[in-house]
């Protein structure tokens, strides 16, 4: 008869045997490398899942690379900053142009120049240069843009027809466009020409059209520059005479929401509007044209919003992660993204893509937004590494003037005072 101790030993022995067998059974899996990929949630989850399934896993899995996708539902930058600091961040992740510079300067992103030089699939020349520049610092490339957006003027054809006003077109300047919008808004007391989202993310494009720069050589911002004041006054002036409307006044939080109420004839938005229109207003007859030219400079301005895939500089599997990155931004993957109307891809060669020649309003709008990246004074949506602290005073000024709580002069003076504290004078 075995003692109690004997039984226990036997138990341990058989447990060990089981572990050894289990290890042998899963042996090949242990040889695999896991690359963790992360981005934000929402509609992106379905897109990335499908990209991984169609274009990434078939390429990298035969080489023993397993891709794990970890979308973050909310507040992605906060998650990422924490995870990077704690050393638990994924190997590849989204980086938005708006907060990219902080991470680049903090050395958290892996410079990709050497990987690109060795790659046979992906080269820096493939990517639209304006986008690549936005993710470069001191000659180092810190992210491969996955897609981008610019602003265009989206309008509701019905309202223009109803008012007997010609549609906005690519020859419009600020004056002719304002005139068209004013005539549409004359349709009735609850009809407006333009949704005036009170943000620099809209108005800024107009400011750039005047030739205004957000920072001078010393890195100071001057809102009292006559060119900025002119753009500011044009934008907020539309509210004063009832041509434009604060989206909240038609019960909406943004320009796109205002457009689908059919009370507002036009909105300044990017291609992100298309998916929303598809769901919220499938029968709305809309068109898209480039933003109006400034009558003085004859140029347009625009903002580039873009997101890149970047690599964690502390990653243990950098070479494998780059292979995943190559597959994520491959021409086939980008073509699929474009044709599905999901986003505008970052590869320069896609400019001549037959997709853009399709006569559908969606393809046409995508073409306008695509071309917006290289037409006139175009600046990325980033403000050194000030971020929101730089935008907040300007947004507050735009908002209070559109609401009629302050006049332009007072509002701009107050905003300038805050920016002086931030950027020096």
């Amino acid at each position: 008869m075995r003692s109690a101790r004997g039984w226990r030993l036997a138990g341990i022995r058989s447990a060990l045997a089981a572990i050894v067998i289990a290890c042998l059974a899963t042996g090949p899996a242990l040889a695999q490398t896991t690359v963790r990929v992360s981005g934000w949630g929402g509609t992106d989850v379905a897109i990335v899942e499908e990209l991984l399934a169609r274009f990434v896993r078939p390429v990298v899995e035969p080489q023993g690379i397993e891709v794990v996708y970890e979308p973050i539902a909310d507040d992605f930058p906060t998650y990422l900053f924490n995870a990077l600091s704690a050393g638990t961040a994924p190997d590849l992740f989204y980086v938005d142009i708006f907060w990219a510079e902080s991470l680049m300067r903090a050395g958290q992103l892996e410079p990709l120049n050497d990987y690109l030089a060795d790659s046979s699939v992906l080269s820096a020349d493939d990517i639209i240069p304006e986008l690549l520049d936005a993710f470069s610092l001191d000659g180092k490339i810190y992210g491969i843009p996955k897609d981008f957006n610019t602003l265009a003027l989206f309008f509701n054809k019905d309202l223009f027809d109803l008012a007997g006003v010609p549609y906005p077109d690519e020859n419009d300047d600020w004056n002719t466009l304002a005139d068209k919008l004013r005539r549409v808004s004359a349709l009735g007391p609850d009809i407006y020409g333009l949704a005036l989202q009170p943000e620099f993310a809209r108005m800024g494009a107009l400011a750039f059209a005047t030739g205004w720069e957000p920072f001078d050589e010393q890195g100071h911002t001057n809102l009292l520059d006559p060119r900025f004041v002119e753009a500011f006054s044009w934008y907020t002036g539309l509210a004063a005479d009832g041509t434009g409307v604060h989206p909240e006044d038609v019960g909406q939080g943004w320009g796109g929401g205002a457009l689908v109420t059919e009370q507002v004839a036009a909105a300044i938005e990017g291609a992100w509007l298309l998916g929303f229109l598809r769901d919220a207003a499938p029968n709305l007859p809309y068109g898209a044209v480039p933003l109006p030219r400034h009558p003085g400079t004859g140029q347009r301005g625009n903002l580039i919003f873009t997101v890149a895939w970047s690599m964690n500089s502390a990653s243990q599997v950098k070479d494998e992660a780059f292979q995943v990155l190559e597959a994520l931004t491959s021409p086939e993957a980008q073509q699929w993204v474009l044709e599905r109307g999901l986003a505008l891809p970052s590869r320069a060669e896609l400019a001549d893509n037959p997709y853009f020649q399709q006569p559908t309003p969606e393809a046409q709008a995508n073409r306008i937004v695509f071309l917006g990246a290289s037409d006139g004074f175009v600046r990325p949506f980033k403000f050194l590494d000030y971020g929101g602290s730089w935008l907040d005073p300007i947004n507050a000024a735009i908002n209070s003037v559109i609401l009629g709580e302050q006049d332009a002069e007072t509002a701009l003076a107050a905003a300038q005072e805050q920016l002086d504290l931030l950027t020096g004078r």
Binding site: L84, F98, W99, A106, Q108, D385, G387, D392, A396, E405
Partner: protein
């Protein structure tokens, strides 16, 4: 005979063993975090580079930061006003709810609902209600449009009530001005009268009224207007009301429990002595509830000084300067939009926020003890 612990030691050990799990988690998640925060508050740290000692620089930086001063002002104003308001409201609610009425539990549940509902959900509904095209402005517009009708109705009710009471009194019955049965008859009469006048075209809704578009949240207006440092931003005042409404019921429960402990004999004796309702409330209920009031005020102060969620949910629906509180200031510095984390400054502000309730409670204890 083996050495044995005496009873006393045994009990002590058992008590510490039971305390251990909580003490450990307290030590790890609060003690350690607190020490780290105090340390970070003396360093320049951005989460990535190792912290470098800068002495008191962070504290100097925050007191020169206008936004910190605003946050401090907002937090203190918020805390004082909301604590007082919710304590008073909770006490009144508890006294009312303590009545033995049929169906009082239904009311207790209804009044407690705001406290158990997620404050994020309530804040979202609140934002929608106070939009420029929201329910609030709609109701105000409706009140203006139907002003003649409403005034007619109120006037008729008043007239009918006065006539009825006078009639009853003339007949020698001691009718009160608010006697329920008479009031009901008056309301019915007034409704019928108003309807008749409306149909006859004597009283009509005002035509052509512009919809009211008051900006409740997205505004820089203050109460009182132009009071500078001493006036409270309108959006913050709105959050104060919201917060009072959602937290008062929790404290109502504490007061209800406290009310059960007041001996009935005291009220009976006072009644015999001829004390009226107000006197009984003022000289029995309020003093007997003082320990509960101390607890309620302390919890209220701590809770209100740390208020964060409602500001975070309101987000861009109101200007930051108008709603920022200390807790939000800390978050805003720890994770600024599009910029490097400023952990040093955030920690310094956190230390200040930690000291505030401590000071407030110490003052409060002094006041209570002196009484």
């Amino acid at each position: 005979m083996p050495w044995r612990w005496n009873r006393h030691v045994q009990e002590a050990v058992a008590a510490y063993l039971f305390l251990l799990p909580f003490a450990l988690s307290l030590l790890i998640f609060f003690g350690y975090a607190f020490v780290r925060t105090v340390y970070f508050s003396f360093t320049d740290y951005n989460l990535f580079e190792s912290p470098s000692w800068v002495g008191l620089q962070n504290y100097l930086a925050i007191i020169q930061d206008n936004r910190f001063l605003l946050a401090l002002r907002n937090s203190i104003a918020f805390s004082v006003i909301v604590t007082l308001a919710q304590t008073a409201l909770a006490l009144v609610l508890a006294v009312v709810m303590n009545n033995r009425l049929r169906g009082i539990t239904v009311f207790r549940t209804a009044y407690y609902l705001p406290s158990v509902t997620s404050s994020v959900v309530i804040t979202l509904m609140f934002i929608w209600m106070f939009q420029r095209t929201g329910v609030m402005n709609y109701l105000i517009t409706a009140a203006i449009v139907y002003r003649p009708v409403i005034l007619t109705f109120l006037g008729l009710t008043l007239a009918a009530q006065v006539l009825q009471v006078l009639w009853e009194r003339w007949r020698g019955r001691p009718a009160g001005w608010f006697e329920a049965s008479l009031l009901f008859v008056s309301l019915v009469l007034a409704a019928a009268g108003t309807g008749a006048l409306w149909v006859a075209g004597v009283t009509e809704p005002v035509a052509g009224v512009e919809p009211v578009r008051i900006v409740w949240l997205n505004t820089r207006r203050t109460i009182p207007e132009g009071g500078g440092w001493w006036s409270i931003p309108l959006p913050l005042a709105a959050i104060m009301m919201l917060n009072t409404w959602t937290t008062a019921p929790t404290f109502m429960l504490l007061y209800l429990a406290g009310l059960q402990d007041i001996p009935k004999e005291l009220y009976e004796a006072a009644e015999v002595d001829g004390a009226n309702r107000w006197q009984r409330f003022r000289y029995i209920t309020v003093p007997m509830l003082r320990p509960v009031t101390f607890l309620v005020m302390t919890l209220g102060l701590i809770g209100t000084l740390q208020m964060f969620d409602q500001v975070a949910v309101i987000g861009s629906a109101a200007p930051l300067e108008s709603v920022i509180t200390l807790a939000y200031y800390i978050y805003h510095n720890a994770f600024p939009a599009g910029a490097m984390p400023r952990i040093g400054m955030a920690s310094a502000a956190a230390v200040v926020l930690g000291l505030l309730p401590l000071i407030a409670v110490l003052i409060q204890r002094r006041v209570v003890e002196r009484k």
